[in-house]
Amino acid sequence: MKVLVTVKEVREVDDEFEIEGTEIPEQYLEYDLNEWDDYAVEEGVQLQEDGVADEVVAATIGPERTEETIRMALAKGADRAVRVWDDALEDVELLDVGAKARILAEVVEEEEPDLVLTGVQAGDDAFGATGVALARKVGYEWAAVVNHLDLDADEGVAHVHRELEGGIDELTDVELPAVLTIQTGINEPRYASLRGIRQAQRKEIAEQSLGDLGLSAADVEGELELTDMYEPETESEATYFEGDAGEQAAQLADLLRDAGVVDA
């Protein structure tokens, strides 16, 4: 069976940064493979190592720069990748869930995987919704926030645990084909080996435009617009302990003694 893993290159904001309009300027940003997608890739690669999957394909929507991130997924064991990008996407400030699902749905329809693994959420936009939207779009079954997967390929069922609030797991049987959104902690993502990194250089990253997928700019415009970006309001005015580490520690020690939680 075939597994498709969606991977996003996420933007991470430096400790010190500024906001310009509705953007954080490039110099304050770093890029990385989305944490949740790292676990999704690992889950796919493990299915292949266990002989359950024959092929693991990574798919991303992102500009050329994201190839570096895609290569990480390939270095960890994905067989090949599809990268969707288009000039029309360049101008979209906030790619909403509907647009992402429309694009990824075309990739799924072309690849026809039995199982799609996405992350629970992208660390930057944090919609937490693309996987389920994609499933509905392509008519696959789905399960959100999966922290345990036991795949019965013969029966065509994924036995999953969905991690609910408060440390309760819901045990669910999901018919294949399905989209599962993968939660951190489901496995232990590997580091790419040197050999893996070398092999990844030779693996295929197929580039697709919206037109290649039968989509147009109108399909990705979406109805959401980022109108403002600002620093969140603070709920409490924190008192900062000043001085060097020793002085800061002394003030904190006094606080803990005064609060009566430490006797020493």
């Binding site: 400790d15 937490g128 919704a129 309760i168 232990e188 970006m229 969140p232 580490a245």
Partner: protein, 322 residues
């Protein structure tokens, strides 16, 4: 009208359902319309009584099944929307909310905005406030559509109070059982283990700032010297450096100690959900913009590897070599 879909689990309405009413009422006032609440499955009549709070106009009960099933919730919500034609559909931004709201939005081809912390409507435009970049910034998102699906963050609106005299209507949904492709077979609780951190009065909690498992003895020495209870953020547990019963947050434990010292923890919303009820919150973090400082009473903008050894010495403890 605004349609809010309540959430319950294992026989109990979840708190966020009452918060949803407050958010929904505010939005309904903005658009000058009615607030309808739907409750799907379980003991719907008992749930309807609890949902009958100030601001609710109509409660739709859908007596189908016991527990949450995303297929049922999707089908029923779609039928409610088709029947009632609400402007906005609200659901909790919970694990189950995120298991069906995106499907409803996709099915009806409506825009979806998740994890709202603020909602305003003005002249047919909805503005949703939500976080990005691990809560380092907040944004306003304009939704240019007559209808939309919005999921709201738990704990951000006060639970609705009082009693209304809402009309309760049994909604006769047609659920196509053959279209349901997933079946809930049970529930499982995480093992309790050796300690119950939710009972602790003084917690020292460690996050990804500790970098390596080899550095944990530093925190253990602090715990030893102060008599604190050790807890952590999720990545520490994901990495299996500490057992699950030490995890604070949405998918871990909710704690309410006298003092909570967060060390190398950024303050992601799912972590904060588990500790914001602490009396006094202290944060130690190298990043002065870490969101944890937004809820902290005291802060040290500094390096834990410098501060923690000094703190151990303050209490006469032994600083390990890490």
């Amino acid at each position: 009208m605004i349609l809010a879909v309540a959430e319950h689990r294992r026989g109990e309405l979840r708190d966020v359902s009452l918060e949803l009413i407050t958010a929904g009422r505010q939005l309904a006032d903005d658009v000058d319309t009615a607030l309808h609440v739907a409750v799907i499955g379980g003991d719907v009549d008992r749930f309807a009584e609890r949902l009958d709070r100030d601001g609710v106009d109509v409660i739709h009960t859908v007596d189908h099944g016991e527990e949450f099933n995303h297929g049922v919730y999707e089908q029923v919500t779609v039928q409610l929307v088709e029947e009632l034609d609400p402007e906005y559909v609200l659901t909790p931004n919970s694990v189950n909310g995120l298991d069906f709201a995106p499907a409803v939005a996709t099915k009806l081809d409506l825009p979806l905005v998740t994890d709202a912390v603020g909602l305003t409507a003005d002249d047919g435009t909805l503005t949703v406030n939500r976080d990005m970049y691990g809560s380092k910034v907040e944004t306003a998102v304009g939704v240019d559509a007559d209808q939309a699906v919005v999921t709201i963050r738990g704990g951000d609106w006060a639970p609705a109070e009082g009693t209304a005299d809402a009309e309760v209507r049994a909604f006769d949904a047609e659920v196509d059982e053959s279209a349901l492709g997933s079946t809930v077979t049970g529930f499982e609780a995480a093992a309790e283990g050796d300690v119950d951190i939710s009972e602790a009065e003084f917690i020292v909690s460690i996050g990804r700032g500790i970098e390596e498992e080899e550095n944990l003895p530093l925190i253990e020495a602090l715990v030893e010297a102060t008599g604190a209870t050790l807890a952590s953020s999720r990545p520490i547990v994901d990495n299996e450096w500490l057992p699950k019963n030490r995890q604070v947050g949405q998918s871990g434990k909710v704690v309410t100690p006298d003092v909570y010292v967060a060390i190398g923890i950024s303050g992601a919303v799912q972590h904060v959900a588990g500790m914001k009820g602490s009396d006094t919150i202290v944060a130690i973090n190298t990043d002065p913009n870490a969101p944890i400082f937004d809820i902290a009473d005291y802060g040290i903008a500094g390096d834990l590897f410098e501060v923690v050894p000094e703190l151990i010495e303050e209490f006469g403890g032994e600083v390990p070599d890490v």
